[in-house]
Amino acid sequence: MNAGTLALAALGLPFCSFVLLAVVPPLRRAGRVAGALSIAAIGGSLLASLVLGRTLPRESVELTWPWLPAEGGPMATVGILVDHLAASMLVLVALVSFLVQLYSLGYLEHETPPALGRYYAYHSLFAFSMLGLVLASNFLQMFIFWELVGLCSYLLIGFWYTKPEAARAAVKAFWVTKAGDLGFIIGIVLLWGQAGTFQFSGLFQMAADRTLPTAGLALIMFLIYLGAVGKSAQFPLHVWLPDAMEGPTPVSALIHAATMVAAGVYLVSRVYPLFLLTPDVLALIGWVGAFTALLAATLGLVQADIKRVLAYSTVSQLGFMMAALGAGAAAAGFFHLLTHGLFKALLFLGAGAVIHAVGTNDIWKMGRLYRAMPQTAIVFLVGTLALAGIWPFAGFFSKDAVLAGVWEGGLTTPFLMLALTVFLTAFYMFRVVFVVFFGNRPAEGHPHDVPLVMSGPLWILAILTLGWGISLAASGGEEKAHGPEWIPWLASGLAVAGIVFAWLTYQKRAVSADALARTFRPLYVAALSKFWLDDLYGGIYRGLLLGFSRLVGWVDRYLVDGLVNLASAWTLRWGDGLRRIQTGRAQDYLYGVAFGLLLVIVWSYWR
């Protein structure tokens, strides 16, 4: 099988599974059977992606079919574009999807069969959409799948739709990302107006030939980047991601940690040749990324909900990736995307195991869980170490590459922000580890380790995280950045410092957390209030948008339509006045006839 067929197979299997689940209600309502079907499909996709990754030709493979016909050739096409970037992403998406779907069988064992069927139908749709996004060969198709993954995110966040918080979070996620997508779609339209095509290959060719008109290109690329800001939760549109944790934890692992939120990073990487033409936009991406990383890290410090800590850390890590891209280190950013996809999925699934066992998200109600759930504790620790960037875990190498890339890119201030973030990351992650798995107080209830269907995926991800890192270490790290020698030492030092500080604060209690909060009081308060961004958006939504809509609605009903009613009421009144000459007596009418007769005679006489 050639690369195109394999890619199509990887794309088509989840689609078939989704269609079957969608149009055959008995199958969907069968619950676990639906799950098995969906898992089999994504398993097939994984297989196809792995084979594809191994047999990938050096040249990129592109297949297209016309989608929107127009006179003189199609206006838009659909197709697939397979190159190394797409293939690696394909493997990541298929792998994490497969593991998460497997894990969900255990995590959602108490759901009713129809709900489970629905869950897997959404998952199949998501897998299809995400794979389609990865394989997209043009901007339009990218946008199509971009929106579809957004839809899946919406549906899965709202999976427990009877929970008001979940419903609110789902809608919020959709709106916020959609706000970014407005920029994306305007950018696509403008780019089409500029270049006349959506096709990546055509655009890259034009960029390489310098035939792409550069006037206004910065604006276009900025608008396209806005799409990435929404999807990849960059400041200031990051507010939806923490709320999205209302969804089932496996969903958070898959969509809101490993794959969909990385789509923005993938987008920027995908069309990097175009971004290279607009260095100002790239610099902006770098600054915003670094700022997002730092901001989210400070927010992660104060969360009590284990999933929210992880959510902010996701935002923060996405900031790392974006910063790398902005600094010109596209490879490093994408590398971090891949490693982060693995260990963040691991962390979320581990958190899911904890939540599943304890029945709460609140870290202060957990403690000493390493005794009850040693397996989970180990894999969670692996994930945390990788996230903190400790040698020889995969995260060390990618974070190192990002830092080196940013330094080399000359973004000094963002580099300092990222370095600070490394310290904070280690600190807040180990805060969770110490409080949840060690600590002094045991958790309530009788937690126990998770069944194999859940622990299996955890172990696989843990082994991959560690194994990949070890293999990189062994090979001397060819992906290693070409930055100065001191950067790995600095990063490791900061991470270790963070770990030690967390140990002192939350395990030894040598440093009082309250005292820390008091010392950094303004920051602490601001972080607790999420820097008032949510309030700001809420105010804009409720006050400005709904208020303005109410005004427009009122104007329409009572002024525009009021005028219509005024005309009608006047007509009625006039009619009422004129009605009085209609006495209803035939004889009065006959007078009218007589006068008419007279008129006719006089007229015919004088004519």
């Binding site: 016309p66 989608w67 929107l68 016909p69 127009a70 006179e71 206006m75 129809p114 339009l140 946008f143 199509i144 799948f145 929106e147 579809l148 839809l151 919406y154 709202g158 739709y161 009877t162 929970k163 008001p164 979940a166 419903a167 789902a170 809608v171 959709f174 709106w175 959609k178 706000a179 407005l182 779609i185 305007i186 339209v189 089409w192 107006g193 948008l545 709904l546 303005f548 809509s549 109410r550 005004l551 427009v552 609605g553 009122w554 329409d556 009903r557 009572y558 002024l559 525009v560 339509d561 009021g562 005028l563 219509v564 009613n565 005024l566 009608s568 009421a569 006047w570 009625l572 009144r573």
Partner: protein, 514 residues
């Protein structure tokens, strides 16, 4: 004549009319027979529309399936029908909507035979407008499509709660705002006002062309005076625009749609509003190229107002049907905007949006009807948690909403995207921005409504317990419409190919293409 000697367009057009006659004369007091006759005759139209759609030769393009019967030779009036790419799609739309409409109103109890008969007569009028090439007959069909609405809303409609307020409060009180009689009267008066403009326009063109023929094809050949073109285009724009719901002549539509019974709302918002847009494109732009160029700035600008204003008004509503009705106002803005761009992409988008919005809003009104029938309420903020009780309806509503906000893989996206492309390439590229903003506003109000009605917990006050899901014949309507939405969203070329064969010659006539 026709297609292989079969007068296929005539059959499509008159099959519902025959159904109406059969219902009135044979099926009195047999409710099931009434419905079956309705389903069969509209089914015939649907099957034949599909046949026309499949048999249309996109290579040859132009008007096909031509039929002509002279009616009044001295005045040049004849029954002349044919279909091109635009009519084709709209005929298909009409047959899909009425076929599902018959199923969606399966539960109409009062005077069902009259209801179905009027509905079918109305549909004959709609089909007739889309296929007529003779402007006189076109106008007759147009009136036939508009007038039964009065009875349908006045008799089978429902009244809404509108509190008279504001500086015109006394006027609203006096006219009886909110009652179904008010809505029916308002709609009829508005549309008749519009048709008065249209009639004047048609007669002006007839006289200017020599007064010998009402045939569209012959008028197409006539070069009208630019000044005449300017004024007649305005007449057509206002006349048809009333039906297309252009701002500020749209206020009949929320009241009318909200008061109308389910199938009528479906047909009205789904198809009849398209008659207006179709008239502007076919007669206004098709016959009056210079008039079009004179006024296109106005058409497009008002269209953007429609989009944003309609969406904001929809957001402010608390009555479910009003939300959907205002969303139609907003979406018809997309149609008019696409047409006003005078680009291939935009015009294709406009026609595609006519189709897409027709299906989508048909689905919406069917669903609103079902929800109302089961919950006996249209107050959005009193409902909640219906998703658990009626998952099917919730799914269909969500899908309709997604198409409405232009989510890819639904037909709404293709239409909106084509329109955006056209808007940016048009002479007034700023039109793009309000149009895109409109999609965001749509996302806000649609998802808000979905969340409020179907998500969350059922309100505790015990009004809405154990509401049933859709069943039996109602599913036919929902599934058909959902299927069409997704099909045309995923493989849009099946519609864009024929549309393109009609829009490219139109643009050539308008002189914006070589």
């Amino acid at each position: 004549m026709g297609w292989n000697g079969i007068p296929i367009l005539t059959l499509i057009t008159w099959a519902p009319f025959v159904g109406a006659m059969l219902i009135m004369f044979t099926a009195r007091h047999h409710p099931l027979a009434v419905r079956l006759i309705g389903a069969v005759t509209t089914g015939i139209s649907l099957v034949l529309s599909l046949a026309v759609y499949l048999a249309y030769d996109t290579e040859a393009a132009g008007f096909q399936f031509y039929e002509k019967i002279s009616l009044v030779p001295p005045l040049g009036i004849s029954y002349e029908v044919a279909a091109d790419g635009i009519s084709l799609i709209l005929v298909l739309l009409t047959s899909i909507i009425i076929f599902s409409g018959v199923f969606a109103s399966w539960t109409v109890q009062t005077r069902s035979q009259e209801f179905y008969a009027l509905l079918l007569v109305l549909v004959t009028g709609v089909f007739g407008v889309f296929v007529s090439l003779d402007l006189f007959v076109f106008f007759l069909f147009y009136e036939l499509a508009v007038l039964p609405m009065y009875l349908l809303i006045g008799i089978w409609g429902s009244s809404a709660q509108v509190r008279p307020r504001g500086i015109f409060g006394w006027a609203m009180r006096e006219t009886g705002v909110g009652s179904k009689e008010y809505a029916a009267m308002k709609l009829t008066l508005y549309l008749l006002l519009g048709s008065a403009f249209i009639l004047v326009g048609i007669l002006a063109l007839y006289m200017a062309a020599g007064g010998s023929s009402f045939s569209f094809l012959e008028m197409e050949g006539a070069a009208f005076d630019p000044v005449l073109q300017r004024w007649v285009f305005l007449l057509f724009y206002v006349g048809f625009g009333v039906l297309a719901g252009i701002w500020p002549l749209h206020t009949w539509s929320p009241d009318g749609h909200a008061s109308a019974p389910t199938a009528v709302s479906m047909l009205h918002a789904g198809v009849l509003m398209k008659l207006g847009a179709y008239g502007i494109v076919r007669l206004g732009m098709g016959l009056l190229p210079e008039g079009t160029h004179d006024w296109v700035w106005l058409v497009g600008t008002i269209a953007t107002i429609n989009i944003v204003y309609g969406a904001l008004s929809a957001m402010a509503q608390t009555d479910l049907k009003y939300v959907i009705a205002y969303s139609s106002v907003s979406h018809m803005g997309i149609v008019m905007l696409g047409a006003a761009t005078l680009t291939e992409a935009g015009l294709n988008g406009a026609v595609f949006q006519m189709f897409a919005h027709g299906i989508m809003t048909g689905l919406f009104f069917a669903l609103v009807g079902l929800v109302y029938e089961k919950a006996h309420s249209r107050e959005i903020f009193k409902m909640g948690g219906f998703g658990r009780m009626m998952p099917g309806i919730a799914t269909a509503f969500t899908l309709g909403g997604l198409s409405s906000l232009g989510l890819p893989a639904t037909s709404g996206f293709v239409a909106e995207f084509l329109t955006f492309l056209g808007a940016w390439r048009s002479a007034h590229s700023w039109w793009l921005f309000p149009a895109v903003a409109g999609t965001f506003l749509t996302a806000v109000y649609v998802l808000r409504v979905v969340k409020q009605i179907f998500w969350g917990e059922v309100p505790a006050h015990g009004e809405f317990h154990d509401l049933p899901d859709a069943r039996g014949p109602e599913w036919v309507a929902l599934v058909l419409l959902m299927f069409v939405i997704v099909l045309f969203g995923m493989v849009p070329w099946i519609a864009v190919y024929p549309i393109d064969t009609a829009t490219v010659p139109l643009l050539t006539r308008l002189g914006v293409r070589p």
